[in-house]
Amino acid sequence: MSVLEVRDLDLYMEDEQILDDVNISFEEGVVQAIVGPNGAGKSSLAFSIMGLKGYRDVEGEIVYDGEVINDLDVSERSKLGISLGWQEPARYEGLKVRDYLNAATDDEENEDVSRDVLEKLGMDPDEYLDRAVDSSLSGGERKKIEMASLLAMEPDLVLLDEPDSGIDVSSLERIFDSIDYLVERDATVILITHSERTLEEANYAYLMCGGSVIDDGPIEDVGMYFEDKCLPCETKNIPQKKENGRYEN
């Protein structure tokens, strides 16, 4: 069953078209990947679904659980169960990891959950709970805490923008385990990635280029296309559509 539908989505920023007629129907409870080269519009699509500032003024419809959510702000969308993990998560002066994680749960004060999710990411709670979510954390630590806060929140639909970037190899498995955990909790995961290894975590993939979705299918097919055609492609040009409906660059 489809849980999130993006219909005829266009996004313009400063007179430039960023998203061009995007149509995707995301299946419930499945890990679906969005792949594509730098600048393809993957993050922009995620930000539009989350409703971030600058990404609210879209044409087309975003339908979640049968409801058009275009007019809802970020809080309202997250209260429906949608959340986003940032590629470069924000830093907060003075805000403790404890309070940051706690904010993601409904409970007033629940240290057990915070400890548990840190441990799932391989982070010692005694070392991290009292540290600030500020620039003293390494990029990898900050990314793992981002993932931990998503585990604490247990969203129904989660957009992960390159959750593997900046993560060292030894921690990568923890990120994959976290994705599994979210799926076990019946979450729909939309995984934006560049990496072929991470793509294997998904069941289905959409290939974006130049603001459009140009292909979709089981990851084996799209993955091959991405590897063969997109990775070597240096230009950001939209590939030419062939008569059989497929693309070449």
């Binding site: 500032k53 959340s83 924000a90 309070d99 929140m153």
Partner: protein, 306 residues
Amino acid sequence: MKIEDLYEAAEIEDAVSDPDVAHLIINKDKIVGENEIAGLSVNAVEIEDGVDVEVVVEEDAVIEKPVHMCFGMTQEEGLQRIILDMDIRAGSEIGILAHCVFPKAVDVRHEMDAEIRVGEDAEYSYLEKHIHSPKGGLEVVPKAEIMLERRARYKNDFELVEGRVGELDIDYECVCEEDSILEMTAKVDGKEDDDISIREAGDLVGEGARGVLTTRVAARDDTDAEVINELSAEAAYTRGHVDCKEIIQDRGEARAVPIVDVHHPLAHVTHEAAIGSVDRKQLEALMARGLSEEEGVDLIIQGLLS
């Protein structure tokens, strides 16, 4: 309201009942509690509308436990003038935790005039925490002149994040001799029609003296905030940094005036000042975890002022 309520508001009940902890408790213009310990002498005298306090830390005395001071008022109205003379003699070490507690204030003025000398190689840290009534009927006017002798270290933290600020007018000035270290921090949470004025000034006169002035202010609702951070460097190898961050929300207004005055080619002073509303990305990231915009702003400000 009883004096015990002040202790409770300041969470110092345990400290004032510990004989090893020196303390001085002042309610409006009355001395209501006093405990001296070896190495430290406190001479407090009641004056008109206030108390005159002289503190001497003996040479080389190391005061292990933080000394508690409480300047408060159980009444709704009144004037409190504190004249404070601190003589932290050479080689000594002391930390003071001061609570300024005005839980009932409707129309209260608290003045502090402090003169502080920190002797050679001495270390002094002073944390002043304000607990105000939610009514905003307070005027707080702390002035301090501080002198740091060679290799002295002084750390001053001013915190006004509980209750309404009311009107605040801080003016601290510190002269820093050779190789001394000054750290001055103020954190203030302004709401409604609070009026905040902060001036912190460091004068690095001795070679190798170092100073850091840090200010964090939230200006919400109709708060008006002005922060003047002055750091002047007169001698070689002096190092200084000014760091001021003000978050404005609603109709708040804020000014930051960093004044960096360098008179020696071998001195180095830097400053950063940032005024603006809550960072959008920080806020949206919290909203994406289920917080409302208001809850997100509160959490960000709470972190900044912690």
